[in-house]
């Protein structure tokens, strides 16, 4: 086992990220390096700053200090849509979908945006057969092929969570940040969802936020533990399981009641 970043050059890294809202510090000195192809879990108690880190990395929030790198490139000042074009893509903890588009339309939209068709207004959508085929292929790979003609709002909750991932995949991500992909999904169904995530190509580096420790230890190849806006510890699942500080955080401690 190598420590993070020691083997391959990191595909995503941050250096000294800081963010506060007034006197509330939500991120301090966050420096992480994510090597390509890993399945990274980001865990920590509520309010630890996990979603904040995702927001900072994807450009939804501006850091007060620190830099963000995608591969070699400094992307700290790029707008969110530009980061997506470079392969840094996220999903949302709460379904952020298009209620009155069918699942097929929604994913076709994302594919067309990526391929640069979306500024074309003088050709009909059916003319873009490749884009439609690709969208349908993504949906079928997530077991949504049969229901893709339904309006998004008519889909079941678990299917909507899958559609979140389908939309992200349509942008051809290099790094995929999943913010609680199984949030709200019945406990029995979340392994199926994570199996779909685990089956993604190894070209995609995945970083996911998750609270269910069974799922985390089954699907993550490395784990980052955050507490109070800081990275507490980072390592392989056995290392994290054996770490005294992590146990302290998860088994109830008095330090930050």
């Amino acid at each position: 086992m190598t420590t993070s970043g020691a083997g391959a050059a990191p595909v995503l890294s941050t250096r000294g990220l800081e963010k506060s809202f007034g006197s509330l510090v939500v991120a301090r000195e966050i420096s992480v390096a994510v090597p390509p192809g890993v399945r990274y879990a980001l865990i920590g108690p509520n309010g630890a700053g996990k979603t904040t880190l995702v927001n900072l990395v994807t450009g939804m929030l501006r850091p007060d200090a620190g830099r963000i790198f995608l591969g070699e490139d400094d992307i700290t000042s790029l707008p969110p849509s530009e980061r997506v074009k470079r392969g840094l893509v996220r999903t949302f903890q709460i379904n952020t979908l298009f209620p009155h588009l069918t699942a097929l339309e929604a994913v076709t939209l994302a594919v067309c945006e990526r391929r640069g068709h979306a500024s074309t207004w003088w050709r009909g959508l059916p003319a873009y057969r490749d884009a439609v085929d690709e969208a349908y292929g993504i949906l079928a790979s997530l077991a949504l092929g049969a229901d893709c003609y339904q309006l998004t709002r008519a889909l079941g909750y678990g299917q909507q969570r899958l559609l979140e991932i389908a939309l992200a995949l349509a942008t051809r991500p290099k790094v995929l940040l999943l913010d609680e992909p199984a949030a709200g999904v019945p406990r029995g169904e979340s392994p199926a969802l994570f199996a779909a995530i685990a089956a993604l190509s190894n070209d995609i580096t995945v970083l996911f936020i998750e609270h269910d420790m069974d799922v985390v230890f089954r699907f993550a190849s490395r784990i980052i533990v955050m507490v109070g806006g800081r990275v507490l510890v980072e390592g392989t699942p056995p290392e994290i399981a054996a770490d005294a500080r992590v146990r302290e955080v998860y088994l109830g401690c008095t330090r930050h009641a």
Binding site: S81, E82, T96, F98, L109, E113, A118, R123, Q150, T171
Partner: protein, 333 residues
């Protein structure tokens, strides 16, 4: 469930083609627009006003119904087109088609300028910005009476006959033919826009503006583009009014006109392209009929109708008709 399996049979390509195919009711509708020439030859002037209002409503539908951008100042572009067409003819260029192109282009340029501001706002702020821009332009036209004639209206509008053959007379044959042709051509463009990948992205902006950047979509560029297209169309509607009636009054820029076109679109059904046309027909015919009975109370009935439609038919009259048709297909084998 039956419809779902049918779609599954067609596959994704068949499904999308079916979404964009010309329906028989559409073809029947456009053929029916020719009927006034035969059935109501004395109402062609009204028919041309309806076609112009419908074109204006379709232009609003592109930004409101598809991209979800609420505007209370859409008359700004209608009025710009009307004044531009009027002034061009007043200063000696009375040929209608080139005047129409010039006036629409001018409205489009103004629309692009406005869109740069508009894309930065949403919700209430957006309504206030568009309202403010409309009011500004109205007062500007009012005070620049040396150019616009102010409250007296623009004098001296002289339009040459269409193709030097058909003059815009009191009967309105040329007026209706001209307005209808322009409505149809513009409708074809609007239909193509909404069935394109660009149109799909517009609907994405309407459905979830936050998600679009997370898909790498340049939402603001999309909005600027559709706003400009809508301004061109609104300007064309205004220019048609000026040319077919040979008058331009301050009313073309009024808040009332912005509000009326919004009411027309909501009544007919926003986001379905024919909603604006249907709304314009109902609204203009009802106004023509009611105002003959007691003109001062005409807005009472429109107010009542608006409340009823919003309460019971959230997708407008066209949405209600669609639901009724779906219900009819279910109950009758």
């Amino acid at each position: 469930m039956a419809t779902v399996s049918l779609e599954a049979l067609r596959g994704p390509h068949g499904y999308l083609r079916a979404q964009t195919r010309w329906r028989r009711t559409e073809i029947a509708f456009w053929l029916a627009t020719l009927l006034p020439f035969l059935l109501f030859p004395s109402y062609l002037q009204l028919a041309s006003q309806i076609a112009i209002t419908a074109l204006f409503a379709v232009s609003l539908d592109l930004i409101l119904g598809y991209a979800g951008i609420v505007s209370l100042g859409h008359a700004a572009f209608f009025g710009l087109g009307a004044y531009a067409a009027g002034l061009i003819s007043k200063f000696g260029w009375g040929e209608p088609l080139s005047g129409l192109v010039l006036a629409s282009t001018l409205a489009g340029v103004a629309g692009y300028g406005a869109s740069v501001v508009v894309v930065r706002f949403r919700h209430l702020a957006l309504i206030m910005i568009t309202l403010g821009m409309g009011l500004l332009l109205h007062e500007a036209a009012n005070s620049a009476s040396w150019l616009t004639g102010g409250a007296d209206g623009l004098q001296g509008v002289r339009i040459r006959p269409l193709l030097e053959l058909f003059s815009f007379d009191l009967w309105g044959r040329a007026a209706y033919a001209y307005a209808l042709l322009m409505l149809f051509l513009t409708f074809l463009v609007a239909r193509r826009v909404i069935n394109s990948p660009f149109g799909l992205s517009l609907r994405g902006i309407r459905e979830n503006a936050v998600r679009m950047p997370a898909l790498g979509a340049p939402s603001r560029a999309h909005v600027r583009k559709v706003y400009t297209i809508a301004a061109v169309m609104a300007g064309m509607a205004g220019a048609l009014l000026a040319q077919t009636t040979s008058t331009v009054s301050l009313e073309v820029l009024s808040f009332q006109r912005s509000a009326d076109v919004l009411v027309i679109l909501i009544l007919g059904g926003a986001g379905r392209l024919y909603g604006g046309i249907l709304g314009a027909i109902l609204y203009m015919v009802a106004r023509d009929q009611f105002s003959g009975i007691n003109p001062q109370y005409w807005y009472f009935w429109i107010g009542l109708l608006l409340i009823a439609v919003v309460l019971f038919l959230p997708n407008g009259i066209l949405g209600g008709l669609g639901r009724a048709a779906a219900w009819w297909r279910r109950v009758s084998p």
